[in-house]
Amino acid sequence: MTTETSLKRATEILAPFSKGNANPETNRLDVDIEASDLPAATSALMRNQWGYLSAITPTDLGKEMNKLEVIYHFCEGAAITSLRIHLPREDQPDIPSISDQIPVASFFERELGEMLGVHVVGTPDSSRLFLPDDWPDRVYPLREDFSVEQAAPVVPRATLPEIGRVGNKFTVPIGPQHPALKEPGHFEFSVDGEIITGARMRLGYVHRGIEKATEKRNWIQNLYLLERICGICSHTHTSAYAMGVEKLAQVEVPRRAQAIREIIAGLERIHSHLLWLGVAAHEAGFDTLFMYSWRDRETVMDLLETLTGNRVNYSIIVLGGVKHDIAAEHSRSIHTALDYLEERIRYYLHIVTTDASFLQRTRGIGTMTLEEARHFGALGPTARASGLERDVRIDAPYGAYHYFPVSLITGENGDLEARFEVRMKELLVTCFTIRTLVDNLPPGELAVRFPRKIPAGETISRVEAPRGEAFYYIKSGGGESPLRIKIRTPSLCNWTSVLNKAVGHQLADVPMLIAGMDPCFSCNDRMITVRRKNDLQTFSWSQIREYGIRKYAAVRELK
């Protein structure tokens, strides 16, 4: 289905609720609706299987307009439908919840409540989730008149969790400082013996408030700030941001620069997946694989350093192009390095699909069916391992992917093994793409002149990060710095699936399950989310038991 027909279909579906339509860009449809129509409009989209909820962007339109704006973005392929809702600019205006239809929405709704001061009616949990425990009430960082002074610490509302032993059940805290987590996040698993009976999550230990900070910095400074959202996928963030700003400024990036950006993105994907392979192997207690994959990862790091001058935060992107060229001798060293890496990746693919002791920890663990993946709104390799065909590089090609398409890799089983397999195969495809790009680098400029001030407007840019789709919503008021930047990273969408899947598994599987989706806390934690104890939400008690028994039967068969 083409983008036009998608949008046409969306217009028809949403016609009963629409208070006004607009097409700000060729692939976007903007529909103004009343807040009370939101659940009905969402269910109409869901009923007709139109796309998935990608993000909710809360914005304060300021004193003049005296309105708050909440936009619900749905994506299908390259088409984006935005439901735009205006609320009165007062303390806690009401908006209905849609998380009963879309589980992921509960995360976004938490953000709404905490950051913009909107009262989400019917959301499963409205406790303090976004901001630190000692954050004062009725202070919302995304409101225009917010200042740091307002946020002076108060006596914390929540206390630290007590050492928990309820009857025969334990609560096992994992994090924020925990060896399985290279980054902080806090999970509480209630366990019965070794079996998980409930899962809760509290993030926000690395919540720094980057989204708000972007509003105080100019367009160029933001490039470097956003690069530091995440050290693993820094290039993804800069390229998504740069793409959006370039679209707003109506600047055409030279093809050579686009190709170089994609080469770096490919190398970043290799480094990220190898890093993940190592960490996941470490969680499984297979340190040798961890050491080997990280040793080979150094090859990519060297390559990235040669090309950009940095190992981690490459900062090769400038608005309107790239900083450094890729010369002939570079392409030779890229080819040599890729020769080695391809051989190693094939070897790892062989290991993760055949090594019996490793398979014991991955095969049949955390299985997510295609329907579940769609329901939970999974993204990236986590979704693709369940057979869900969702990849921005293919659905909505951007930059050099227009001329150098990549092929889609999907798995079938949706368990941890499939996720390992999908990621490793994806690397082989990435290697191929990089080779093609390097051999066919288009001639031309590296960068074009870029204006200091960006014309007013708003845009959406989506980029496929190593972990899935990253979503940027950028709004300019015509000045030197943005009015609003909203970032939604893939890890956030994948949490729902992991926490739901943890119930019924063994405690020993938890680190693997968490690692299996390749979480990235620093990405998430421009915002905070808490997940309520959801053992009764999707599983009834008898179902948990049944699930546990079935699982044990499977373990026995394995041996």
């Binding site: 901001l131 630190p132 425990d133 000692d134 954050w135 960082p141 917010f146 740091v148 946020a151 610490p153 630290l160 924020p176 400082q177 925990h178 060896p179 290279k182 980054e183 902080p184 926000g204 230990y205 690395v206 919540h207 720094r208 408030g209 980057i210 708000k212 900070a213 105080k216 910095r217 470097y224 700030l225 530091r228 959202i229 995440c230 050290g231 693993i232 820094s234 890093l275 190592g278 960490v279 961890f290 050491m291 080997y292 990280w294 040793r295 990862r297 150094e298 790091m301 190992r311 981690v312 935060n313 990235c520 806390f521 620093s522 905070i528």
Partner: protein, 166 residues
């Protein structure tokens, strides 16, 4: 008698210093970093850098650790946990701040959820600058801390004056 005891004490002191310098077990805490430093710290464990050569091990429990390696600016939510982790460590203990954010707040200066850099919360013994520092730099920083231990001196504390809040 007194002289003799002094001699024994001296000798034991020397032995414990030697052991301390040769076996610093570390624990890693991310208090709001972007992850860049964390992956570089992890990289020091791996074959190319192999920090175990110096007897440095990354431990999971703060009770087993001698050196607290901190990354990132301290966020309001992480502050409590950072302090708790530090308090759980047995004496003698040392703190190493890794990365620009840990030293000065870096690009995150003035963000609403940041308490500040690490030495506003904990006494820091060594600073390793960089965004992120290379694994070699991290190893070098820790080895320098060890050299100071050997001489019985604490590294010179650097007082950082933050820029005005943005």
């Amino acid at each position: 008698m007194n002289v003799h005891q002094n001699y024994v004490n001296n000798l034991m002191g020397k032995i414990t210093t030697w052991a301390r310098v040769n076996s610093p077990w570390a624990i890693h805490f991310n208090s709001g970093s972007c992850n860049g430093c964390d992956i570089e710290i992890l990289a020091t464990l791996t074959p190319r850098y192999d920090i175990e050569r110096f007897g440095i091990k990354l431990r999971g429990s703060p009770r087993h650790a001698d050196v607290l390696i901190c990354t990132g600016p301290v966020t309001r939510q992480a502050r409590e946990r950072l302090l708790r982790t530090y308090e759980q460590m047995p004496e003698p203990k040392f703190v190493v701040a890794v990365g620009s954010c840990g030293i000065s707040g870096g690009v995150f200066q003035g963000c609403y959820n940041i308490v500040g850099h690490i030495d506003e919360v904990l006494p820091v013994d060594a600073y390793i600058p960089g965004c992120p520092p290379r694994p070699e730099a991290i190893i070098d920083g820790i080895v320098k801390l060890l050299a100071h231990l050997q001489n019985g001196t604490r590294p010179e504390p650097i007082k950082f004056v933050p820029q005005e809040q943005v």
